[in-house]
Subunit: 446 residues, 2 copies
């Protein structure tokens, strides 16, 4: 699409551009702006119909949005803000620099400004901060026909109309009815008779992780959000839920790689910020690896022989294999917990499972290792035995630590993902080396 548009821009064939844009999906138009040279952005943006412009705007990256806000007139801006859903407006305000926010607020009507202010008070990452207030609310006394009339009259401004919420006079949630239920019912049926009163909802203070879990578990189109007085204040729609699910996954990926999570896309984050998010764990883990070094030194002093020197060559293999086993186990455990497949009460089941797996994998690794060392290291069977026994023990310990640490972390209220691979690696390294030297002392003539 980009090349075609650039060509038409050169030829000043704006009507043809408008035609192409009319046929394209809003997400794709927004992606187009990321590639478009800055000098053309405004011109193309002005070719979009007003409703489409607001939609495209909500999918753009922050830099592009900032450029456009700074370039357009107040009147154009207030047209866009009018069309934007409230949750998208709030996102915009949270992400723009102060001067831009000022221009946005100056072009927002006072009623919407009041709503925005209320929104900004919700905790970051809470259900309140990601919900939208544009939902269809019905009364239980309505007939199906009246409900349809109401939806037809007001539905154009609602983000999703397919799940309708039934509230009483004090705005308390009483039931849920889907458009499918309405369509399949008689026109004179009363809403109360067809609504579902078993309602799953979240509170504005709940973490968005809770929201993600509910969408993952139940196949909802939207999830009601209530305030402390159980009044319906908003809904989270499934498309926002997919974003939340992906954010939560990204967070887990980052934590498991010893990175402090960030909301920004990789290339939009400054190197300085990247460094700040990675350094704390790197420093902590570097210091903790010193203990492993200290273990080596203390044993070196005792093993200043040829046999002792031979032991050193197997340290990387032992440490790496232990680390790999630990991170395999911790990854499966943490993922299982975040998908709800593993609960705290399963700890012994999981541990038993991991011990069983370790007995099998450890045996194969140890046998391959014995053969390899025996053949390649001068048929030194004692050395082969020492290394392989240590390897076996390391695998069992690594897989135990790999499952017990994340489950234990969750039990005492810590985030399991944070305890993952790197921290486990450090613990497993220290254990592996200690075992190695103890077994060497017993078996080898040092």
């Amino acid at each position: 699409m980009l090349e075609k548009i650039l060509e038409l821009l050169e030829a000043r064939k704006f009507a043809s551009i408008r035609e192409i844009l009319n046929d394209a999906n809003e997400v794709d138009i927004a992606a187009l702006f990321e590639e478009l040279p800055e000098e053309y952005a405004l011109r193309v943006f002005r070719l979009l119909p007003k409703e489409v412009a607001a939609d495209v705007f909500s999918y753009m990256s922050n830099d592009i949005r900032q450029n456009i806000i700074e370039a357009i007139t107040d009147q154009e801006l207030s047209g866009i803000i009018d069309e934007l859903f409230l949750d998208d407006t709030v996102d915009l305000i949270e992400e723009m620099p102060a001067t831009v926010v000022k221009k946005v607020l100056a072009n927002t009507d006072s009623k919407k400004r009041a709503l925005i202010n209320r929104f900004l008070q919700y905790k970051e990452d809470s259900a309140g901060s990601i919900m939208t207030i544009e939902f269809v609310d019905l009364k239980k006394e309505m007939t199906v026909r009246q409900a349809f009339e109401y939806i037809r009259r007001t539905g154009v401004d609602k983000e999703t109309i397919y799940t309708c919420f039934v509230t009483n006079k004090s705005r308390t949630l009483e039931g849920v009815v889907t458009v499918k239920d309405l369509l399949l019912s008689d026109d004179d049926e009363i809403i109360e008779n067809i609504m579902d009163t078993n309602i799953i909802y979240v509170s504005t203070d709940d973490d968005k992780e809770v929201v993600a879990k509910i969408f993952d578990k139940y196949s909802f189109l939207s999830l009601p959000v209530v305030d402390k007085e159980k009044r319906l204040v908003g809904i989270v729609t499934f498309d926002d839920a997919i974003d939340v699910i992906q954010d939560e996954n990204t967070e887990d990926f980052e934590k498991m790689a010893a990175i402090i999570p960030s909301d920004e896309p990789y290339l939009k984050t400054s190197p300085f910020k990247h460094a700040r998010h990675r350094l704390p764990w790197l420093l902590l883990l570097m210091i903790s690896a010193t203990f492993t070094g200290a273990i080596i030194t203390s044993f070196q002093e005792k093993f200043m022989s040829v046999a002792g020197a031979a032991l050193v060559a197997f340290i990387p293999m032992l440490m790496d294999t232990g680390g790999n086993c630990g991170s395999q186990t911790s990854t499966l455990t943490i993922r299982g917990m975040s998908l709800g497949q593993i609960q705290g009460r399963d700890v012994l089941k999981v541990w038993w499972q991991e011990i069983s797996v370790a007995v099998m994998t450890g045996a194969v690794l140890a046998i391959v290792n014995i053969v390899r060392i025996y053949l390649l290291n001068g048929r030194n069977i004692l050395l082969a035995l020492t290394v392989s026994l240590s390897l076996y023990a390391t695998v069992i310990i690594a897989q135990s630590v790999g499952c017990l640490l994340p489950i234990g972390a969750k039990k005492i209220g810590l985030d399991p993902a944070v305890t993952a691979s790197p921290l486990i690696t450090t613990i497993v390294d220290a254990c592996a080396l200690s075992i190695y030297f103890v077994i060497a002392k017993i078996i080898l003539p040092l």
Copy 2:
């Protein structure tokens, strides 16, 4: 819910159980069966109304489903199969042992059996294998009123009615219209005038990863699936898409931890299968760590001095820090690629970003290290310099390998996630040690 139900079972108050079940969500009822003692399962299952039973059934785990199928009568089973959506029936058949499949097929009518056979021919993990055939298809000549009549007449059997697909006589897809469009249009409007002809669709052969990416990018309720002749054969609904997105994430987690991916939940996988999925990479990485060992040995022979022995103590710190930097970078790169934030053409941008980050993090780590070694290792400034310079170089190499390897893998058609942490760790280890010994040879009086 479980305790209450058990109590009522003891008291034989089946009517009260039915009442509780009537109010509960199908997902929660299915979860109840996972906890319920086997002897009660059948009795409780029989208390469910037929439509609910089929829904609950589709959310159950395989063991429970198998027990129930084996226990119920043919007539009951054929009632459930009648109510099940076709994609759920196909899943069931794919996951049950042969004897159970036989009983299921014997109780399926011949029309549905023919459809199932067609489904079973779609490649595993293809769009065809996850689609459902229950969708609403309209004709462009219909009026809105006729469309609603059609939906009301047929909609009860369709998995989602909110996106309707407009097809011509040869079943080719011509347009899409949502129930919202229909509701907000005049009753006499012709479908052709309100349908959207810019349709995003997938083919039955496309991988489910493609499906996941489209749902992640566009906020669709359902996505049409066409065959080779561009005829509409099914749809993927958003709830299945969330499952696919989560499956793809789990696959990435597993690959990045050097595990061969599996579809089964953690606790439902046998230890033997777990071992089979983890051993290949463990073996490969164990063998490759031998090279690191060989490097140590070859340098040991040259450094048989006290200073040389002191160097060994810092090997774990160097290897671990390099590994951590590499896995931080590779995780961010792989995640960025799978979210579409990083493209192949961004390779130099990403590399430059990582070098910038490495220059900063490396400097901090190196300085902390110089101070620490100088203070704790007998004010040996040359040793401190050797270790810290090597550390700095290792960080830069680790972050370069961490981003270049996954992007390169993708360019030549390999899976970036497979090249992740453990493989990178092995490469970085070898580089770190070589640099370490080269720098030591230059700086230290050995």
